[in-house]
Each structure stands twice: as structure tokens, then as C-alpha cells.
Symmetry: C2
Amino acid sequence: MKVIENGVVAPLGFKANGIEAGIREGKKRIDLALITSSVKATAAAVYTTNLVKAAPIYVTKDNLADGYAQAMICNAGNANTCNADGIEIATKTCELLAKELNISAKDIIVASTGVIGMPMSIKPVENGMAKLVAGLDNKKENADLAVKGIMTTDTVAKTIAVEFEIGGKVCKMGAMTKGAGMIHPQMATMLCFVTTDAKISSKMLNEALKDVVDDTFNMLSVDGDTSTNDTLSIMANGLAGNKEITEKNADYEAFKNALYFVCENLARRMAKDGEGATRLLECVVTGAKTKQDARIVAKSVICSSLLKAAIFGSDANWGRVLCAIGYSKADLDINKVDVDFKSRKGQIAVCRNGAGVPFSEEIAKEILLEDEIEVVVNLNSGEGESKAFGCDLTYDYVKINGDYRS
Amino acid sequence: MKVIENGVVAPLGFKANGIEAGIREGKKRIDLALITSSVKATAAAVYTTNLVKAAPIYVTKDNLADGYAQAMICNAGNANTCNADGIEIATKTCELLAKELNISAKDIIVASTGVIGMPMSIKPVENGMAKLVAGLDNKKENADLAVKGIMTTDTVAKTIAVEFEIGGKVCKMGAMTKGAGMIHPQMATMLCFVTTDAKISSKMLNEALKDVVDDTFNMLSVDGDTSTNDTLSIMANGLAGNKEITEKNADYEAFKNALYFVCENLARRMAKDGEGATRLLECVVTGAKTKQDARIVAKSVICSSLLKAAIFGSDANWGRVLCAIGYSKADLDINKVDVDFKSRKGQIAVCRNGAGVPFSEEIAKEILLEDEIEVVVNLNSGEGESKAFGCDLTYDYVKINGDYRS
């Protein structure tokens, strides 16, 4: 597998664009993004489990019922959630785009992100649609414009593309994602759009997506708040010319590996770009009785507000790691737990068998001053493993969210 | 019921004291607290459900197995948790105190609070014990010294006392509590010590404590982190002379009401004094299908980092309330949910039937600038009710916890 340029337009047949549509009243910022495939693609998506769901999610679910799509459109600046006319607006968005692209409105994935419960007007979308479509191209600049169109409090654009082989055929996969706050995905994450030219049946595409999301985006948390708009979607247009994947064979594994690589890469970068974050906080758990126990522990550790604040202060306060493991509700023997802190500066043991061990505060500080911190937990009770992705809790998280709507 | 002075020494027969024992090396701060009863009292306690438990909890559980106690001792500055010799230190503390008071070491409730996993020495406790006991008295100053002895990042002392009647006899109840961070109690809270001169059997005392804690301390969260040291304990010495409560009759209800009043009062004040907090954030839920659903929703709302930050910024970002209700996993119909914001400045409707309603941002701001904010949620689906206690998320929370150990 090779990382390549051009994000979502790297795979054959995909084009993208992003424009300043004026969704955020009075603000000049790119806020409407589009990705298209030259041919109909098999498509799949997973969504938030929040009972409050954004209107576009209902429309997308309906549109993807047949397993196919040809375009993805997304606005930033308004979540189109808890609005009485939300479904109408999302449906109208698809209709306007379908007319401009000359495709069926049912072949469109639609999404929104921004403030919840703010009335939304279709006007900016309507006025901008011709320009949005006219600017479609498969150059790097176009992928860059598209990802900007889905950003809210994100400070960096998060895209990736890879090249991999299926049965001797070169395939490509690209993706873009957004998300910085209200990030604690359950079965899906804040918006992520994946494109690929691999040929894969709709059924297998769904399975791959569900398998991969559990170990990537579902292991990510910025603030414990599961968004109302989470959507991870993928379109596979088959232009790479590989033999269609219709069962769980070696080709399926190759495809899934690529999807895993792409999703994990973006989940880590979302965590690192968490609202106000200065550090990526990963927790790697081994030795759990089951994979599920490992997942519960890893996620509990990266969700602890106290540990997150300690990591911001580069404080090796490992007692907070033990505390978070202890209340996680995973099945484990606390007297067997080992904990290390790790970064590119090194690794230091701080806890063995559930009790503290002497360590150099100076070396620990040096390790924790890095911007990517790993909490290494061994439960010493089995073969279960997992990894979770989070970030530190900082003044800027409070600042951003104390005054988000304005 | 009447609120009275003198905290834990208000009931007949109780004395208290607090001294600078030097648990926190090099810091002159009161850090060792003691409460005694002149006669043996029935006693009960509930503890953290964290798998990582402080050593004193094991010792206290063992000591309370017979349902009696005569003294409570607690140090601040070191949690005595995850220390290999923790049990030994807690046991030795009881022995030293028992010798000085001439009572059985098995009649002592012992507790600790502070940093987890920091080696602890028995020396300061040993050296201070004679002075601690010599200073025991039943004056207000003594109760004040005792509560200071259990404070860590608390900014205000939290004590209360009430007078109430059982079968025509005047009884009193006093309590002191601490807790500002690592507050998300499960079956108990960060340290709370209750005294009463009411006469009640050990069995009934246990039942009352368990009933009350579920609706008070267990509905409190500062940061979602369930501490390793949570202990709520009560001693009832019977000196008020009421007929002993041995069944769930009117006397039991009178006793439980007093205990509820005391615990709710302290839970609210712990929330308001949450680490870095500038505001109390209460969520009152009505109309739930069951009481349990109401509890889940209320707690989910006050735990949302995003809402907590919005409350810090006095921002009426009600979408975050809906979002937290939506991911709470309670059984509810999101399209029936009503939300208001309320404070002593007034009440404003922001959401009806799960969708936003027009409201004045100016009036909302005025309401939210107060220091006690209530989020009023009606699920309109039944009779279940609950209330939860939390606080806002501020720069100071990050500051306090980015550098706690030093």
C-alpha cells in the first residue's frame, strides 16, 4: 500500500469542488462541497446512533437503500438538525444537484454539519449549485476545495489517498473528513467521505465499512458527545477494472486493509485536531480477556477529562489512567494492570500489577512534552487488543465551545 | 425541618477536630480530620464502584461489617490508592486512633483523599494523633477544622446541619463533604461524613443511606470520572432518645427526609464548587417513561462537555441539550421533548416537540448569566422524574488538572 496525493479525486472517475455558498450568513468561507463519480458507484454509509438525527441522514439512508450513488454533497455552517423543514431542505438539495448533473436525485449522498437547531435556508444552496458543478475537476486543488467545504472548527484539512492492488489490478482510494468537536462516534463518525475505483459489490462494501468503522472511527473521542450528524460514506465506482469483489476472499481482505488504513489515518488526525487540542492521546490496550474488554478500557482512558487535562500539562499522573480503567466496567483484574507512557522520545513504566513503580519525573515529562502521546496498557489477562484515539483537554476547548454559535 | 449551625458536631455526643499533620510534604495545610461519638453508634457506608479502590475502603468495609462505629478519621493530600502498603497504613491509622481514644480499632471509619498512587507514610499520622484527639470538642470551630482537613481542590467548605422530629423527639443531623474533581459518583460519592443523634437500627440506616444516595450524590457529576475513594458514611448514636427505628414506618420516613435534605444540599454544593466551576448546572427531567429513564437523561445532559462549556459562555446552545438527550440511551420519543432554560432571573422556552422555537437571545443570556442554571426537560411520555447536579466546564478546570500533582 502506498500513500498518494489528490485525496478524494485520486481514484479514477472522481471529481470534486467546494465553493463559498454563503451558508454562514455574512461570512466568506467555503461551505458547500461536492464529489462526483463519472459512473454510478456501489455505495454504503454508517450513521450516528444518536436518537436526534440530522435531516440529511434520513434522506441519505433512503437514497442508499438500493446500494448505489453517484455524488456526495455536504454543507458546513448549519447541521440541518432539529429543524421542522429539515427533510424538505435536504431533499431539495438533492433535487437541485440531480438536475444540474443530469442524474437521479436518488443517487445522491447528502450531509450537513454546523450548529444544531438553527433555521436553514435552501437559497444559498440553490444560488450556488450551478457554480459548484461547473467547477468540478479531478485536480488536487479541487479535492482541497471540497474538504474546506466541510470544515467547521477544524484547524487543518484531513484528507488521504492510497494505492493498493486487488488481484494484480492497481486500485486507489481517497477520503476526506471533518470533525473537531462533538466527537464520540457510535457506529460512525462525524462526516467522512471515501471514494475508490475498486470494484466491489454493495453487500461486501457494507460489510467492509462496518468491520472497519468499529476499530477506527468508533474508537475516537474528542469530548464524549456523540454528534447528531455522524456519517461515514463510501462510493466504489469500479473503474480500476479489478474482478468484482463479491465474497470474503483475498481481494476483500486487500480492500478492507486499504479502507482500514485510510480510516485509522483519518481518525488519528481527527483526534489530533480535536477542538483546542495540542496533543494526540492514544491508548493501546493488550492482554484483555476479549477484544470488547480491550475496546472498553482503551476508550475509557482516552475519555477521562482528568487524564486529558493532565496530558495537556505533560503531567505523568498515571493514577488517573488506573482510575479510568477501574470505572470502565470491563472484565479485568486490576492487580495485573501495567501502564507505560510512550512517545517518539521513549517509553517509561509507571505502574506494574496495579501499583506505582518508581520512575524519573524528568524523563516522563520529556516523553509527555511530545505532541503524540501513547498510553500503553497491558491487562495481562488474555489476547484481546484495541486502540483508541483522543486528545488533551485545553483552555482552547473551553474557549471554542463557550462561544461556538457566535 | 430546620437548618441549624455546627455541622457534624450539631447532633448530641459528637466532637470533631482537624490539624496540620503534614501529609502534604512541606505544605502548611490542615490535612487530618476526626469525628467521634461519645457512645458507639450504628453506622453505614456506601463506596465507589470503581474496581480500583482506595485501601481505606477495604478497611472501613471490614470495620463496618458489624454495623457499628464510634469515630471517623480522614486525611487529605494522599488518596492511599494503588500503594502496595496501603491496607497496612489504613489499618495502622485505626490502631493509633483506637489507642488514643481507648476504643476498638474495629469501630473506626477511615478514609483518604488526594493524589492516587503516591507513596504514603504513616509518620505524619502517628506524630499528629495525640494532638488531633486532644483538640476534640463540640464547638463550631471544631467542625470547621474537621471539614478543612478533608478538602483538596475545594474552594469552599461544605457542611450542613438540620433539626427534625421523630415521634415527637427532636433529632439532629450534621454532615461534611469534600469533592471538586474526579466527581461522578456511582453508588457513593467522594467523601461525605454524616452524623446524627437519631436512634435507628443498623439495617434501617443502611436502607435509608442506599435509598437517598441514588437520588442525591449518584446524580452528581463534575467531570465524568468516578473516583477511587468515594465514601459516604453515617454514624447514628441514638442520643436524641427517640424510639429506635427498626422498620419502614413514619419515623423512618422522617429520618430519610432529613438524610435526603442533607445529601441533596451537599451534592448541589459539591457541583457548584466543582473544579474551576463558575456555575451550578442542574437538569430537571419530568415526563419520562420511568424514573430510570429520567435519571439517564438528566445525567447525560449535565455530563455533556459541550453543554458545560456553553453554560460557561452563557450561550443558550440548546441543540447540545437535545444532542445529549439523544445519545443518552434512555427510552424516549425525541419528537416530544421540550426544553427550557431557567434561573432566578426567569425561564425561557427554547425547544418544543424536539424542534427549536423562536426566543430572545437577550433574555436567554440574562438568564444564563446567573450562577445557578436549570435545564428543564419534559419528555412528555410518562410520570418519571429526576434531577442531576453538575457544573460548567471552564479554563480553571483545565488549569487545576493540567498541574494537579505539583
